[in-house]
Amino acid sequence: MTATSTPPASRLRGRDTVRVAFSGLRARPLRAVLSALGIAVGIAAMVAVVGISASSREQVNDQLRQLGTNLLTITPGQQLTGGEAKLPPDSVDMVARVGPVTAVSAIGTVDDASVFRNQHIPEEQTNGLSVNAARPDLLDTISGTVASGRWLDDALAQFPTVVLGADAAERLGINRTDGSGQVWLGGEWFTVVGILDPVPLAPELDSSVLIGWPVAADLLGFDGSPTTIYERSDEDAVDDVRAVLPATANPDHPEEVSVSRPSDALAAQAAADETLTTLLLALGGVALLVGGIGVANTMVIAVLERRSEIGLRRALGATRAHVRRQFLGESVLLAGLGGIGGAALGGVVTAAFAQTRDWPFALPVWVLAGAAAATVLVGAIAGAYPAARAARMPPTAALATV
């Protein structure tokens, strides 16, 4: 034993560091739970916001998968001179001849025709409903479904019968489709034979009443020009088809034709919610920050209260680094506990919300990983100053306080 050699170093095993950090929390469970709760609220808010927005997006995606994204609509745009353009009556058949097209249908708005519950209603009270002639294959093309009654087949299309869009039925106050319901349409009585479900890919049909193509021409002077052509093609060929549609639908004036993809509108609507999500996420971040301040406060008090413990540990051979690690570990554990609770709470909130809306439950893994990383970071930042203070405390001062 000589004065130049040094004793073997102090060593605190990693497992013991965790154990020591945890024992600090166990000594004051209520305080630990309350400060962890602050973190939990922040994490729960953020997880729930992201989870709910992901579930909502998942719902739209589900809907798109179900409805397909290969539907294009063709409408007459504006003439160069500013007037309303029209599509030629044979444009539907011309679109059908494009190779990859699998289904085509169309509606034609019957100008000058309005629909009323009966003939006593003043003509200006149209309720915003439009009267459209529909081809029999419309329902299949737009993936529409009948809520009650039946769809216009070739036979019914010859007679004054009508199928109501979902909103139109509500506004007209008609829910009977057994043939007893009638509407006053363009100066004639039309019998209601069916009511449609809402149509996500063609929302304009919800406020329409649909009549057969032939009867529209015979009774109401419909000119046969389609106002919206619905077209489906192979998924891979949608862009190619889109490119040739204007010239196909109206060879004389392709520049007057406008083509749109309704599924894009649905997706865009989902994306519009992102702004709100970002705002709510920021609010959750503020809650997390407040929770972090709570943890820092708890740790500062813990260091002040536990001076004699710090002194004892230094006397038992703890280095400054060991003391710092103990309190930093305690802070990270505290925040981590809150993070786990918060993630679970956020998951439950998301599941409950999705349940009430009939949405699929979606909580991406990166959200949970992000929440875990956030709590570790918050715990480390909150504990850094108190831990450094504990480590700097001279052992004699720490022992002299009692």
Binding site: M1, A3, S10, S23, R26, R314, L316, P394, T396
Partner: protein, 247 residues
């Protein structure tokens, strides 16, 4: 030199002449700045050989706690030579001093400083926490040490289930579990009734008989009179260094 020979004769386990002293202080000074500055240690010379049981006696404010802190490497002297267990404290870094305390020095405090809600066994095992031993080995050694201080039947009791005397015995076991070269006890009987205090002193005597070097700090002359060597300290200076015949 006659005291030296007497010391060797009364401490059969320690053969002072062939071993380095456990503690060697030469002209040690510790001055706390202030107006006026406090000379807590004012030129202290002290040598403690292996196997000795030494009482450091003095009234409060005499500098005995500062002396304990310097001996325990918790505090550094401002001047002079401090050599503990053969190491020159002045030359060691803070980390190395921590290592000294982890491996070579044990502390017993007046207030015990046991962790509440933790069994006697684990409190004692904590004496080895910073040596890097695995928990299993720490507990095995703690169990043996608890047996040594007569608490084999109290291993799973928590501090609040133990009497004051038993708690201090747990604290002694914690200081002892690492087999330190030097055991420092700061007023070990200060918080105990006389019967418990006598039992703890009896334990220290037994430990000393098995070769542990022990320094007891006390203001109680009755306690000091029980110890084979008494160093009286006043105003930071050693007033007297007496050895009494073994009981």
């Amino acid at each position: 030199m006659s005291t030296r020979i007497q010391a060797a004769a009364t401490a059969p386990v320690a053969v002072a002449d062939t071993r380095d002293p456990v503690v060697l202080l030469r002209d040690v000074r510790r001055i706390y700045p202030g107006h006026p500055p406090v000379r807590a240690l004012d030129g202290v010379d002290l040598q403690i050989d292996p196997g000795e049981l030494v009482g450091i006696v003095g009234p409060s404010g005499s500098g005995k706690t500062t002396l304990l802190n310097v001996l325990g490497t918790l505090d550094r002297a401002d001047a002079g030579v401090v050599r503990v267990d053969g190491y020159d404290v002045e030359e060691l870094s803070d980390r190395q001093l921590s290592a000294m305390r982890a491996h070579r020095i044990g502390f017993v405090f007046q207030q015990f400083f046991l962790s509440p809600g933790v069994t006697a066994l684990d409190n004692v095992a904590d004496g080895l926490l910073y040596t890097g031993l695995a928990q299993r080995n720490r507990r095995a050694r703690a169990r043996r040490t608890l047996t040594r201080v007569g608490l084999a039947d109290r291993t799973h009791h928590k501090p609040h289930q133990l009497s004051g005397g038993q708690r201090q015995r747990v604290a002694v076991a914690r200081a002892l579990v690492g087999q330190p070269a030097l055991l420092l006890a700061d007023e070990p009987t200060g918080a105990l009734d006389s019967a418990s205090g006598a039992a703890v002193l009896e334990l220290l005597h037994e430990l000393r008989d098995t070769g542990t070097t022990i320094v007891v700090i006390t203001h109680d002359h009755g306690v000091a009179a029980e110890l084979p060597r008494q160093v009286h300290i006043l105003d930071g200076r050693i007033e007297s260094d007496e050895r009494t015949a073994e009981r």
